[in-house]
């Protein structure tokens, strides 16, 4: 099967989606480059799963367009789904099937299925062939789902909250699979997560979603470089959060307050100086802090 010549793995343009009166996606635009790991970040209910469903053709675009490898997932489901390896958030594998039956069954749908690779993965994930899926633990269930998504070496691995509810050991396995996918064959990975620690480790690019919109997008390195964490010390204790224009959020108490700013560092420092505060500590914030700062800023 030849892959298409589309430059991007995923191209979403001005996508909107309403559920009843609730606007789940609001004129959202996004591009995922091939061969990169893309992290989709957002709080629960920000619209990550809704966006992923559009990529799979599970939801039809009400307005705007969605293209995966140049194909429309609704018009050409076979073209899109044969190129995507999907791990859903709720792991709806049929409980009555055994692991080896699941592999044989899934193999029938994908011409690129590699039985040797599937067997290697099964041994690596330590899954018993004869075990029924309903007897598997949560972690083993996730690994089984990941196995059938990886075994046919899809061009894009699409993971919806892959680490949710899993112990650190299984999370390592999933991260390893992500890294192996992109390292070995230069394939694309798109995963949604609210564990920013993982996104920071493995993602090349990220997009932060809030209320159905992308509030921040770019390479992970650039995003981190554009943000600064500043600790201000004010001359007198502040009873409430001091208003410093140019910062995304400010937290703390008494005389010392921690602020996260996005590219407006000098402006923030000057404004704080006018309010009687000076910088005592400065450094790069973690993605977690950036995310919380943006969430706080957007909710006002």
């Amino acid at each position: 099967m030849n892959s298409s010549n589309a430059p991007h793995a995923v191209e979403v343009t001005c996508l909107s989606r309403k559920f009843g009166s609730k606007l789940a996606l609001n004129q959202l635009s996004l591009q995922v480059r091939r061969g990169r790991v893309f992290g989709l970040v957002g709080a629960n209910g920000a619209g990550k799963t809704t966006l992923i469903k559009h990529l799979l053709g599970r939801l039809k675009a009400e307005s705007g367009s969605v293209r995966v490898f140049g194909f429309d997932p609704v018009a050409e489901p076979v073209g899109v789904l044969s190129r995507i390896g999907y791990l859903s958030e709720n792991r709806d594998l049929p409980g009555w099937m055994r692991v080896d039956e699941l592999l044989r069954y899934t193999a029938a749908f994908y011409p690129n299925w590699d039985p040797a690779y599937a067997e290697e993965l099964r041994r690596q994930f330590n899954l018993d062939s004869g075990a029924k899926i309903k007897t598997l633990s949560r972690g083993e269930n996730a690994k089984a789902g990941l196995l059938i998504a990886l075994a046919y070496r899809p061009e894009m691995l699409l993971l919806d909250e892959p680490s949710s509810g899993l112990d650190p050991v299984v999370r390592r396995d999933i991260l390893e699979a992500i890294i192996r996918t992109v390292a070995d064959e230069g394939r694309t990975v798109l995963f949604s997560s609210h564990l920013l620690e993982e996104v920071e480790r493995v993602a090349d690019d990220l997009a932060m979603m809030f209320n159905g919109q992308v509030v921040l997008a770019g390479q992970v390195d650039e995003v981190k470089e554009n943000h600064r964490r500043l600790v201000f010390r004010f001359d007198s204790p502040q009873s409430s959060a001091p208003k410093v224009p140019g910062v995304l959020s400010i937290t703390g108490g008494g005389q010392e307050w921690t602020a996260i700013c996005n590219g407006k560092r000098d402006e923030a420092v000057a404004a704080a100086a006018r309010a009687g505060g000076r910088v005592v500590e400065e450094g790069p914030p973690s993605l977690d802090e950036i995310f919380v700062a943006w969430a706080g800023a957007k909710s006002k």
Binding site: R201, R229, L287, E289
Partner: protein
Amino acid sequence: MQLHVSTADGVPIYWQIANQVKYLVASGRLAPGDEIPPIRVLAHQLLVNPNTVARAYLELEREGVVQKRHGSGTYISDTGSPLARKERLKILSERVDALLAEARHLQVEPLELMRLIKDRSQSIQPKEAK
């Protein structure tokens, strides 16, 4: 080569990797001519994106800490390189800053601190001479 990366402090991961390699070289745990793992292997080991490891290796190469040999991997370069010495001093100066901050906090004067360093150095040296 045992490295440890963490996302807690906000320090970029490639920077942490590069720094730790430099520290290992400076402390002698990595000798000149030792091979460091290929990008893919290290990425697997640390569970980070291979591009991040690639960037760290690029930094190290640019600073002369490591050398890439055609087709056979990446190796630590000779310590004779002046940049390596500069790195070693830079690492130590960070430690000195931390020590000075602590001394100020404990209300120990810098002069008293220097005397302390000299005393400790003398008490350690005879042990090494044996």
